[in-house]
């Protein structure tokens, strides 16, 4: 397996969906190719840092305001006769 072939399997490798018959080849390539090892490590960190960090704030005040606006628009349609909200 060369680097291009390895990269083509990277998504399945990350998602744990790689064909078992290919897994040994992938691991062998990773063990022998420092560049691909770095790509795997830093790509995993890329995903982790986006998952872990709140790139965008969603303050409670905004959440409450948006929800109130949505509910007001929905009630204005007359399709929500029941007014038992929180």
């Amino acid at each position: 397996m060369n680097c291009t072939e390895f990269l083509s399997k990277l998504t399945d490798y990350f998602d744990g969906q790689i064909d078992p018959s290919l897994l040994a080849e992938v691991k062998a390539h990773l063990g022998a190719c420092h560049h691909c090892e770095v790509v795997v490590d830093t790509t995993r960190k890329t995903i982790d840092v986006y998952r872990g960090a709140a790139a965008y704030e969603f303050p409670q005040e905004l959440a409450d305001r948006l929800r109130a606006a949505v509910m007001e628009r929905c009630r204005a349609t007359g399709k929500l006769p029941d007014i038992k909200t929180k």
Partner: protein, 222 residues
């Protein structure tokens, strides 16, 4: 329209649903029960659905549009449209996936309006491999994010993802940030699973390359 007693099939790859509960073959999704109550005019049931998914919809819209005001408008529009179309929701997919699909469509439409001279679609710029071939093989510091304040890190992440074409940005947002499965992402975007995988790979590699500028180990000082 009465809701059919739909059950949600268990996905062996993703046994936990987005609301955080286990989904089994015989369990009726809590979302479907809320939908049914909302259809019957229960305001509290619909408000609960908004409460559960407003954060996800807002973040998705903001990641795609990169504009906070647009994301606020889109969040409102998504839930209002969902409310108007509740009878069309058949329960064949998760309610959250259905909402995300509306959010993606609304977000792309908003981008089109903003860039009126340019077509913006989920396919934009995805035919190129530019930037997707790894070039930077530097190792990163063990905990690179700790070298920045929370505000600085958020700015780096925003600036970096904003540089991706919308088609890549959207796939990465749904799959890696919002944690949808590949199949759910494909359903939400109207793409095939192989297309999602291909775009996800390129999005991840492009982001990695861009973040490497900030996070790489500074060999001169170590």
């Amino acid at each position: 329209m009465a809701l059919q007693t739909t059950t949600v099939a268990k996905d062996p790859q993703h046994p936990i649903d987005l609301a955080g509960g286990a989904v089994t073959q015989t369990e009726v999704s809590p979302d479907l029960m809320l939908v049914e109550r909302a259809r019957a005019g229960d305001s509290a049931a619909f408000e609960q659905l908004v409460l559960q998914y407003e954060r996800q919809i807002f973040r998705t819209a903001l990641h795609i549009t990169q504009n906070r005001e647009d994301a606020e408008d889109i969040t409102q529009d998504v839930f209002f449209k969902a409310f108007q179309k509740l009878n069309q929701f058949q329960g064949n997919s998760k309610f959250s996936t259905w909402l995300v699909r509306i959010a993606v469509n609304e977000s792309l439409m908003r981008l089109r309006k903003r860039r009126s001279s340019k077509t913006v679609s989920i396919d934009q710029d995805v035919e190129t491999d530019g930037g997707s071939i790894p070039r930077d093989f530097a190792e990163w510091r063990p905990n690179p994010e700790q070298n920045y304040s929370q505000a600085q890190l958020a700015e780096i992440l925003r600036r970096t993802i904003a540089g991706l074409p919308p088609g890549f940005r959207t796939v990465f947002t749904l799959r890696d940030i919002e944690n949808l499965s590949t199949e759910e992402t494909a359903a939400a975007l109207g793409l095939s699973v192989p297309a999602v995988k291909s775009r996800l790979l390129r999005a991840r590699l492009q982001l990695r390359e861009r973040l490497s500028r900030y996070f790489r180990r500074n060999e001169a000082s170590e």
